[in-house]
Symmetry: C2
Subunit: 107 residues, 2 copies
């Protein structure tokens, strides 16, 4: 059984930023990598992913450009911005705190 999406909510953007913090990437690949790392227990549905991208772009946390594949399907790459890295750091810190607080309530 995979993780309930409500438990992921609030971390989706952070998870995407984490992926982009390592290297530029594109939707399909980000998803594959997440599934690989979590043994498919976490999967971002593509509608979720693309709405997250739009949000992140709007907030200036990522930039985007089209890949120059001469063969195969086109890819839209995303790149994390300086501001994106800052927010990523803050989000991670908040996640650490949230984890701790929730744990303190669940006996």
């Amino acid at each position: 059984m995979s993780i309930a999406s409500d438990l992921l909510r609030g971390n989706t953007d952070t998870i995407i930023l984490a992926s982009l913090a390592e290297h530029d990437s594109y939707g399909y690949l980000i998803n594959k990598e997440i599934m690989a790392k979590t043994e498919a227990q976490i999967e971002l549905k593509d509608a979720t992913l693309y709405s997250a991208f739009r949000r992140l772009e709007k907030e200036g946390l990522v930039t985007t450009y089209w890949g120059d594949e001469e063969v195969g399907a086109r890819r839209r790459y995303y790149s994390i911005t300086e501001k994106g890295r800052e927010v990523y750091g803050q989000n991670k810190a908040e996640w650490q705190k949230a984890k701790q607080m929730i744990d303190s309530l669940l006996v």
Copy 2:
């Protein structure tokens, strides 16, 4: 700064069940106890709390009864059911797994 509600979402019901697993309680008190335990970093807004109660009741995870206060504001008490304890256990396990998975993605 308190915890973003999207990080709590998915744990609200579990947090309430945790509280009721210790002793019967009522809305106002549950909230106070949560705030005390987390130094006010987690706070369930009362609209959130009452909609959660309705949900939990509907699912048969809690039962409710009016307190017999002869003085002061009336209190509606909640009691966790056997099924509630089961679900609580499952939710805790899922939370443990989710934590681990998310951590494995945030480098």
